[in-house]
């Protein structure tokens, strides 16, 4: 026992454990999201969805898909810029994995509570754009090129509302650390239900506008319907992924679903109170509460996908520049004024 504790005091041992835990959670939860999406979409469209793989309810469908992709030939077009084409999925997945450094599951279960917290997450998360642009450019395919350009324009347009919505939360919490932001919504919060010490999440005390902006921008950053113009099937075949096949395509796929998890986790921390739930001890129930809130947001993302049609490219741009950015800036000012006055 003492040996185990001594081992965990070593930085490198602890780092390895953190890394393995995060990667297992990332891959495991991504598989769950993929399965949930297949099933939920099917039932919303009055279909059954996966049924045979694994015996009951098709639970092994994502695993079967992964195994199938592993065995597919890895084609690189003759015209393509081969090194860039091969590196692109790694860049995309790298940024997603790096975001998980600051995702907090309980007061102690966090890989590293950086002071820069939110800022780091948004900065590293947008490196994924580079992978998409690399994929689009290096494929030497007209559809890929258009898809890559659209993706880049979309991601820079929606980066801003997202960052500005997060900035309003930073104003209210007075810190960028993810753990600090959760604490600002916990029992010691500025706003509690009168007469009790139950903290209210930021979405209920003034940040509802920021929350909506953040979720819209998150959908756009993830290129999910209704913002999936970069891979619009009816116009661009499969956008920047047209030339990808087999395992490299799977890596982009994994990055997308892990990205859904990461975005939902950041939104949960910023707006829904993270691991905190009134009456439940965060160091025991924290991870479960966090997972429940994240699952809720993931469900909403899937729901939106089934509900809305795709926007047009210019509508997407004008929605960001004309409405979301001024709205987010106004939200920051109102939050700041209230913060100084209160």
């Amino acid at each position: 026992m003492t040996l185990a504790i001594a081992l965990f005091d070593n930085f490198w041992v602890l780092l390895t454990v953190k890394l393995l835990a995060v990667v297992l959670v990332l891959i495991g939860f991504s598989l769950v999201i993929i399965y949930a999406e297949l099933k939920i979409m099917a039932h919303m469209q009055a279909r059954i969805g996966p049924w045979f793989a694994g015996g009951r309810y098709g639970w092994a469908q994502p695993l079967a898909d992964a195994l199938k992709f592993l065995q597919k030939e890895d084609l690189v077009p003759l015209e393509a810029d081969s090194p860039v084409f091969r590196i692109a999925p790694a860049v995309s997945l790298m940024s997603t994995v790096a975001v998980f450094v600051i995702v907090p599951f309980s007061p102690t279960l966090i890989a590293e509570d950086l002071d820069l917290g939110v800022f780091y997450a948004l900065a590293v998360g947008s490196i994924g754009t580079l992978g998409v642009l690399m994929a689009g450019w290096s494929s030497a395919n007209k559809y890929s090129l258009m898809g890559g350009l659209r993706a880049a324009a979309q991601l820079i347009a929606y980066e801003l509302p997202m960052v500005l919505a997060a900035a309003a939360v930073v104003v209210q919490a007075g810190t960028m650390s993810m753990a600090g932001i959760v604490d600002a919504q916990g029992p010691d919060a500025l706003f509690t239900i009168p007469g009790t010490d139950i903290g209210l999440p930021f979405v209920m005390v003034g940040q509802i506008v920021a929350f909506v902006i953040f979720m819209i921008a998150a959908l756009a950053e993830l290129s999910r319907i209704p913002f999936d113009m970069p891979i619009a099937e009816s116009e661009l075949v499969f956008g920047y992924l047209t030339e990808y096949s087999g395992i490299r395509f799977t890596m982009f796929f994994l990055a997308e679903y892990a990205g859904m998890f990461a975005m939902s986790a950041i939104a949960t921390t910023l707006f829904l109170g993270g691991w905190y739930f009134p009456g439940l001890n965060p160091s025991v129930f924290g991870p479960a509460v966090m997972m429940a809130k994240v699952s809720l947001l993931v469900f909403v993302m899937i729901w939106v996908r089934v509900t809305w049609p795709r926007l047009r490219e210019d509508q997407l741009q004008s929605a960001a520049w004309r409405y979301l950015i001024p709205l987010a800036l106004g939200n920051i000012l109102v939050t700041a004024v209230l913060k100084v006055v209160l």
Binding site: E112, N141, K142, Y143, S144, V170, I247, R248, M251, W321
Partner: protein
């Protein structure tokens, strides 16, 4: 080792593992997958036709103006974060300063919209 270095070593190791994950997956796949390229398979995909012209064709790039707008507002975001963290200590003065700064930028955005740079009809 200070906490600061530990923080960013963790970040570096996580990022490196993201790349490693792709290498592992591609390596594992290399053991299982066939490799049998033919000229037809290696051609760029263009809905079954032979590709017309090069892949890097000229396109009407409308997006550069968004790039310019983005630069301005992204620099602003970099200013806003430190301001947001210290706002409680800085008080009303910093608030007025930032309000003026944001008002100037919003004026710029309104000018861009009025100029029609966001309109796509040609």
């Amino acid at each position: 080792m200070t906490q600061y270095f530990q923080d960013y070593i963790t970040v570096a190791v996580f990022a490196a593992f993201g790349v490693l994950l792709v290498l592992i997956a591609v390596g594992a796949s290399a053991l299982l997958r066939p490799k049998n390229p033919t000229p037809a398979k290696s051609a760029s995909y263009e809905c079954g036709m032979d590709p017309v012209g090069g892949g890097w064709s000229q396109t009407q790039v409308r997006f550069y103006i968004y790039g310019l707008l983005f630069l301005i507002f992204d620099v602003e975001a970099v200013f806003i974060f430190p301001w947001a963290v210290r706002l409680e200590q800085l008080g009303g003065f910093a608030l007025v300063e930032m309000a003026i700064f944001i008002a100037i930028l919003l004026g710029g955005l309104a000018y861009a919209v009025r100029k029609g740079v966001l309109r796509w009809e040609s």
